[in-house]
């Protein structure tokens, strides 16, 4: 299996098939990245598309200084940060979104989602990057521009906090679902 870094270099050399392979590998993870952070599916899709377009447009300037995965998620992270900033200035009405999300998610997923949403923002980001994007501690540190020890401590606190949040909500969620 060709590595991501080799594929992106091949794409830089003119191989469209290499990019298609990379897109195939990261299409779902990048969409999931935005989907877990945004409630609007259409917006998540737009941002995922924009992330790949940024890779596409900036391919001539790409330098293999880090793993492609870190590069890709750093772009996605900037897109998400920009979206959050815009949302602060121009908040989107979300009254119907939780209902729609609740209808789509399973009981366990809704349970986890609610608990994750209650986490501190910094802790939540580290936890999401680790659990869902499967980034290493070093990659998370590079992406968030924080020390590795900070990543480790935030991740541990996030997990402990999530554990305490998940336990008492079992009965509540099951009551809601029944």
């Amino acid at each position: 299996m060709t590595s991501d870094e080799q594929l992106i270099l091949d794409f830089q050399g003119g191989s469209q098939a290499a990019f298609a392979e990379l897109f195939d590998r990261y299409r779902q993870p990048v969409f999931g990245f935005f989907r877990r952070r945004l409630r609007d599916t259409a917006r998540a899709e737009e941002l995922a598309q924009e992330t790949f377009l940024v890779v596409l447009r900036g391919i001539e300037r790409y330098e293999p200084r880090a793993t492609f995965r870190t590069y890709l998620y750093s772009i996605a992270f900037k897109q998400a940060s920009g979206e959050f900033r815009r949302a602060k200035h121009d908040p989107v009405p979300i009254s119907t979104e939780p209902v729609a999300a609740a209808q789509q998610d399973s009981c366990d997923a809704l349970w986890v989602r609610r608990a994750v949403e209650k986490l501190d923002e910094q802790h939540r980001e580290v936890l999401l990057l680790r659990e869902y994007e499967q980034l290493s501690y070093d990659e998370i540190a590079e992406l968030l521009r924080i020390p590795v020890n900070t990543v480790r401590s935030r991740l541990f606190r996030a997990r402990m906090e999530l554990k305490s949040l998940l336990v008492p909500e079992v009965s509540e969620i099951k009551k809601v679902s029944s």
Partner: protein, 446 residues
């Protein structure tokens, strides 16, 4: 769970479970994990959290995402054109309409620029050549003291414009002819009126108003000369001044004991003999520094002449008005005031003109002549007795001044110091007693 009972930190255990520890450390944590029930519980909790989080799945990415990105990939012109040259033609074909629009717009801009240049450039050029010269010259003749914004500009600028007009004249023999010829380069719409105006103004010119045809340079030079024999060099300077018909505008000679003799002078020589005078001055000794310069003053001269002529005409007209017209006493007084003001301006300008003429006629040479340094055994130091006496006087004076200063200080700051002493007396006394008593307490018996 403490560090004493658990040599492995909880975050280390988490890192081990995440596969983030190196071999030795991971083996250490694994060994401890096998022995410690608390850590196994933590391991279970962490694995449980991760497992629970996996239940949050998102729906598959929409098909539109694939379509959008892959379409962009196909249409990425920069990549394909860089790597596959034949795709450039395909790109041009695909975007032919857009390219055609841009090309059309660029052509329109080019045509518009050409038209603008053709329409405006000739008049702009002619205005550049003629407008400042003719108009400013005319304005200068009409009203040299006007406070309008144009005339309030620097005189040098106006003078340059006038010089430009004169330089553009084909032949300086007749000012009227020159100015009349100059008007030919005006734009057609302004030509007739401007020509009439210029001819009229030229016909009114004073006979004494002679246009300079040669450059008028006010030359300056400075020389720094070191001479072995100062006295002979000093006499040489006088001889040179006399032989070249010059004069010394200023001269300072330093003959202080213990210092090399020196002479600083500003000499003026006729411009025609400036070079010869300089050469003669250089022969007085070793030239350490030489500097020469020249300032073109023709613009100032022409400007000044024009203003002077108009001021004189104004004065003549005012005198005519005073002779021929009758009116109120206040009007007469006002005219007389204006005549006096005009006369004052005329005299001022005549002075400036003479000064300019002198600067051109006589070149200024700044001379710094000094003697080569020679140590001398002669001294002007006072005798020992005189120095002792001076020391006694200085000491007495210093003691008197010091005493007076102390007295002044006590008188000015004394009340404040006294007040501060009264305020601080009791606290200091209390602290001092406490310290004394504590020192006097005997050591406890064993």
């Amino acid at each position: 769970m403490t560090a004493e009972t658990h040599p492995v930190e909880r975050e280390q255990l988490m890192a081990y479970l995440d596969g983030e520890l190196a071999g030795n450390e991971a083996a250490r944590v694994a060994t401890h994990l096998a022995e410690c029930a608390d850590c196994r519980q933590l391991e279970a909790d962490l694995r449980s959290v991760s497992a629970q989080m996996l239940s949050w799945n998102v729906e598959p990415a929409p098909q539109q995402l694939n379509d959008g990105v892959l379409a962009a990939l196909q249409a990425n012109p920069s990549l394909r054109s860089a790597r596959e040259p034949w795709n450039l033609l395909r790109f041009i074909f695909q975007h032919r309409l857009r390219i055609a629009r841009w090309a059309l717009a660029a052509a329109c801009v080019c045509v518009a620029a050409l038209v603008l240049i053709r329409v405006f450039a000739p008049s702009a050029v002619s205005n550049y050549l003629t407008e400042p010269a003719a108009e400013l010259a005319t304005r200068a003749h009409l009203n040299p003291y006007s406070n309008s914004s144009r005339d309030s500009k620097a005189p040098a600028h106006r003078g340059e414009a006038i010089v430009g007009a004169f330089q553009a004249m084909p032949a300086p023999a007749s000012p009227a002819v020159g100015l009349a010829d100059k008007t030919k380069s005006f734009s057609r719409s302004q030509q007739a009126a401007e020509a009439r105006e210029e001819a009229k103004m030229a016909s009114n010119m004073d006979e004494n108003f002679v246009l300079p045809t040669a450059p008028m340079i006010a030359r300056t030079a400075s020389l720094k000369i070191s001479a072995k024999d100062f006295q002979s060099a000093r006499a040489g300077v006088d001889r040179i001044i006399a032989s070249f018909h010059g004069f010394a505008a200023s001269m300072t000679i330093n003959n202080a004991v213990g210092e090399p003799q020196s002479l600083n002078a500003e000499l003026h020589f006729p411009a025609a003999q400036c070079d010869a005078a300089l050469a003669a001055l250089k022969g007085l000794g070793r030239v350490e520094q030489e500097q020469q310069g020249g300032e073109e003053v023709i613009a100032q001269v022409v400007d000044l002449d024009a203003r002077l002529k108009n001021a004189r005409e104004t004065e003549t007209r005012l005198r005519d008005i005073l002779k021929t017209r009758t009116g109120k006493v206040t009007d007469v007084l006002e005219v007389e005031n204006q005549i006096a003001e005009t006369r004052q301006n005329i005299e001022q300008m005549e002075g400036e003109k003479k000064q300019l003429h002198d600067r051109v006629t006589f070149s200024a040479i700044t001379l710094d002549l000094h003697e080569e340094y020679q140590a001398s055994l002669e001294t002007n130091d006072p005798s020992a007795g005189r120095r002792i006496r001076n020391a006694v006087v200085d000491g007495f004076r210093a003691a008197a001044e010091g005493s007076l200063a102390l007295l002044v200080f006590l008188l000015s700051a004394g009340p404040s110091l006294l007040l501060a002493a009264i305020i601080m007396f009791w606290p200091i006394r209390w602290v001092w007693r406490r310290l004394r008593n504590s020192a006097a307490v005997p050591a406890p018996a064993r």
